[in-house]
């Protein structure tokens, strides 16, 4: 079929509802979803420089980077799930599962690359199960992952036999493995931070430039409309859960490498921090919106907040309170801003 020829009549007047704007880069930035989170991060940063002793400094920033890397990697995976209008509550348990599986392989003298892959694979399988059960039985992922949160934790405890696993640093295999979590690239950049950065860049490309990323937004916005456009919505969702599990497994492996120590309860509660970071980063729980950049900013926000509280010597109990309050504030501010600007 050739050209459309049905365009004879002149336009019916100027559309009042679509007054064209010519956005300059600053305006475009201010309209971006991440803008409010980023501005909040800047404010927090300025606050840190004034009230927290030793806040400004490369060493401190690298420490923060080291601390947020594992949560960050998990949050990247969770972002895919949340944009799909689903939720993954089990990533904290998968973190523990990945670490324990890797630890058991290490203590059985499996070469460290295989052991690491084993931990990651355990996470991938756990995530795949989340996805298949959600899609196959058509039950809300909130319920499914609430269940597997407990199931995977139980499996982790069973595998570890309830006793902690320690890796001995004198073993050369372990020493090499420890470089993943403790090593520094060029003697400066923490290896974990480098891995987080790599995962974040890959995640950004997949989400914003690949067809899979496009389909993720489509399915999260309206699964039925996406299906009628020929998208296999089930596959998109299952893939997101598998990604989330894989990255949680990877984070667990890094955790083990960093501490040389893991026990059955490792990772408990991490899912909430990871989900919080995604939400602070501007993704909506209704699905269909959110960006990787937003998630990274959200992760940095939580990291900087905890760092400031640490430097001020405020107890970790208060840090827990602060993180929760910030989530509510962030979402409230975002909602308020969008209502004011007439966007919905």
């Amino acid at each position: 079929m050739a050209q459309m020829t049905a365009q004879a009549a002149p336009p019916a007047g100027q559309a009042a509802s679509t007054t064209p704007r010519s956005p300059n880069p600053l305006q475009r930035f201010l309209h971006a979803r991440e803008a409010s989170t980023f501005l909040a991060l800047v404010v927090l940063f300025l606050l840190g420089t004034t009230i927290a002793p030793g806040f400004l400094g490369t060493d401190n920033f690298l420490t923060v980077g080291q601390q947020i890397a594992q949560i960050g990697i998990m949050a990247i995976g969770v972002t895919f799930v949340i944009i799909n209008a689903e939720i993954d509550l089990s990533v904290g348990s998968i973190y523990g599962l990945g670490a324990v599986v890797c630890g058991l392989l290490m203590t059985s003298d499996v070469a460290w690359p295989l052991a690491a892959l084993g931990g990651i694979a355990a996470g991938a399988v756990a995530g795949l199960i989340n996805g298949l059960v959600t899609v196959g039985f058509g039950i809300p992922s909130f319920i499914v992952t609430l269940g597997t949160l407990s199931v995977y934790r139980g499996v982790t405890l069973l595998l570890s036999g309830g006793s902690p696993i320690s890796l001995s640093g004198s073993d050369p295999n372990v020493a090499e493995f420890n470089l993943l979590g403790q090593g520094k690239l060029f003697g400066l950049l923490p290896m974990q931070l480098v891995i987080f950065a790599l995962v974040a860049v890959l995640g950004t490309i997949v989400l914003s430039r690949s067809r899979y990323g496009f389909n993720t937004y489509a399915v999260g916005g309206s699964a039925e409309a996406a299906r009628l456009c020929g998208i296999n919505t089930n596959r998109v969702k299952v893939t997101a859960f598998a990604l989330s599990g894989t990255l949680a497994g990877l984070a667990g492996v890094l955790g083990l490498s960093f501490l040389s120590y893991v026990q059955g309860v490792t990772g408990t509660g991490m899912e909430l921090t990871a989900i919080s970071a995604v939400i602070i980063g501007g993704a909506a729980l209704f699905g269909g919106s959110g960006t990787m950049l937003g998630t990274v900013i959200g992760v940095a926000f939580i990291g900087v907040l905890q760092n400031i509280l640490n430097l001020r010597g405020i107890s970790s109990f208060w840090q827990t309170v602060a993180t929760g309050a910030v989530i509510i504030l962030a979402v409230a501010a975002d909602t308020w801003l969008r209502r004011r600007s007439g966007r919905r």
């Binding site: 365009q7 336009p11 559309a15 009042a16 690949s210 937004y217």
Partner: protein
């Protein structure tokens, strides 16, 4: 802009006076300096294309939005707090929205009396609630069990429940926002009866609709908005539909609404689509052909199976029996993906739930089916996609400042044009269209009709299902009528009249065996 002619009705006090009303959303001016009167006891229609500002005006009058500048007076009293509760309890203004907001799992009576239950506060008197509700429904001439759960009522009855609810709050002004858009012709007639009896009771009504016949049958005054401005107002008796349409679109377009009288295409050797005793979810044993270049309309009541037939052919719902052939080759789509691969397009009737991808841009919505053509090394070429979208949006004259805009920011008509642009991108050979002009203004409607003609002339086969009979008579070469899941007749357009079609559609309906 033409200056609005004032309504010559000085004898009755104005029930609503809107003065200098403007509403801006950021840089967007949804309403600009609108001044108009709604005389007490009248039924006043507000017309305009989508995006003209009708919804914004109605929202302000119902307290769902606050004006940027300007005032609203109801019975002389100025509205100071714009929220629904104030408008309802203090000014007695009630809105019957397009999307009916009822508590689906509560009973009819509970929904009607919600918030005004008789009896002491924490323990409402159940029997008296039912009695009051029945009294109100009687006043509307509606018979429905007050204990029934709302979820089990059809859309028409739910709408009447919403109207009864506004009566329970003693509304003196009822705003009806496109009330017939979800109703079948018979249901619309029932609603018109209700509207007339309300008017006899002295209730003032504001009526928003795109449909000329009903506006001319019911209203005493007509106001027209265009691009957020008030561009015309007349007593209904002193104006013609053509004048109103001209004011709405700012130009003449009678031609598109005339029945096209070109000869139907010569019967091709192989039809584009052939259905032989095809059954599926909601329809049975349908025999039908659509030739290349032919537009076949599917008429029928909302539950006749016509929507389901299109979904079945597209693979959105499973086909349970019979044979389908596309250009002579057996073809059964097991999923929409199969259908799209065979260049079959489907425009769903529920645009908001099934058509648009609400969180994505116009460009994303328009290019979703052709992403594969703009990929390099597994990555999407965003800029090329944007160009594709710009070209397609221009061809269909989608009014948008940029295709990077969110699709939900477009008016209904422009969303629909964007969706048509999406489906044209696969160069379809068969298009399945459900309610292609629902919630679409006259201007866009005319463009869509013209597009159908162009496509048919290029050899595309079109199967269009609609509850709008004049529309089907306008666009179709043949009309297939469905009732109770079966095809009950096929009438050539030249012989079809609304009466004939309705007789077929409803005749079988009354004889429908209950499953």
């Amino acid at each position: 802009m033409t200056s609005p002619a004032t309504i010559a009705a000085p004898t009755t006090a104005a029930a609503v006076e809107v003065t200098g009303l403007s509403k801006h959303f950021g840089a967007v001016r949804a309403l600009q300096d609108v001044t108009l009167d709604v005389p007490a006891g009248s039924l006043t229609a507000v017309m305009g294309e989508n995006g003209a500002g009708k919804s914004t005006l109605m929202k302000i009058l119902a307290g769902l939005d606050t004006p940027t500048t300007g005032t609203v007076r109801v019975d002389g009293e100025q509205v100071r707090r714009y929220d629904p509760a104030t408008l309802l309890s203090r000014h007695r203004v009630a809105l019957v929205p397009q999307e009916l907001a009822l508590a689906q799992d509560r009973t009819v009576a509970e929904n009607i009396m919600l918030g005004v239950e008789p009896g002491s506060r924490p323990f409402p008197h159940r029997r008296r609630i039912d009695e009051r509700a029945v009294a109100l429904l009687d006043r509307l001439g509606v018979r429905v069990d007050p204990r029934r759960t709302v979820r089990h009522l059809d859309a028409a009855t739910q709408q009447l429940v919403v109207i009864a609810r506004s009566l329970a709050r003693q509304a003196r002004l009822v705003i009806l926002d496109e009330p017939t858009s979800i109703l079948s012709p018979a249901e619309s007639e029932q609603l018109f009866g209700v509207i007339r009896s309300l008017q006899a009771d002295g209730v003032t009504m504001l009526y928003v609709s795109h449909r000329m016949p009903e506006v001319f049958a019911l209203s005493q005054h007509i106001h027209v908005l265009r691009d957020g401005r008030h561009v015309g107002s007349w007593p209904t008796a002193q104006v013609t539909p053509d004048q109103v349409v001209a004011a709405m679109v700012g130009r003449e377009l009678a031609a598109e609404f005339a029945r096209h009288d070109t000869a139907p295409p010569a019967p091709a050797a192989t039809p584009r689509l052939r259905l032989s005793r095809v059954s599926g979810r909601g329809f049975r044993d349908v025999d039908l052909t659509v030739a290349p270049g032919e537009v076949v309309g599917v008429a029928g009541l909302p539950d006749s199976g016509r929507v389901e037939l299109l979904r079945g052919v597209f693979g959105a719902d499973p086909i349970s029996g019979g044979d389908l052939a596309l250009d002579g080759t057996a073809f059964t789509a097991r999923s929409p993906r199969d259908a799209i691969a065979a260049r079959v397009a489907y425009l769903p009737g529920e645009r908001r739930q099934q058509g648009i991808l609400p969180t994505m841009s116009v460009a994303d919505n328009v290019t979703i089916l052709t992403l594969g053509r703009r990929q390099r090394f597994g990555l999407l070429r965003r800029r090329a996609l944007r160009r594709d979208a710009d070209t397609r949006a221009q061809q269909l004259r989608v009014k948008t400042s940029t295709t990077a805009q969110g699709i939900t920011q477009l008016s209904g008509g422009n969303q629909q044009k964007a969706l048509l642009a999406r489906w044209l991108s696969i160069e379809p050979r068969l298009m399945l269209l459900d309610e292609p002009t629902r919630g679409v203004d006259v201007g866009a409607k005319a463009e869509i009709y013209r597009l159908f003609r162009t496509l048919a002339d290029e050899g595309v086969a079109i199967l269009v299902s609609s509850s709008d009979l004049p529309e089907l008579l306008t666009v179709s070469d043949r009309i297939a009528v469905m009732a109770a899941g079966r095809l009950v007749g096929v009438i050539p357009a030249a012989e079809a009249t609304e009466e004939k079609v309705m007789a077929l559609a409803t005749g079988a309906h009354t004889m429908k065996e209950k499953p």
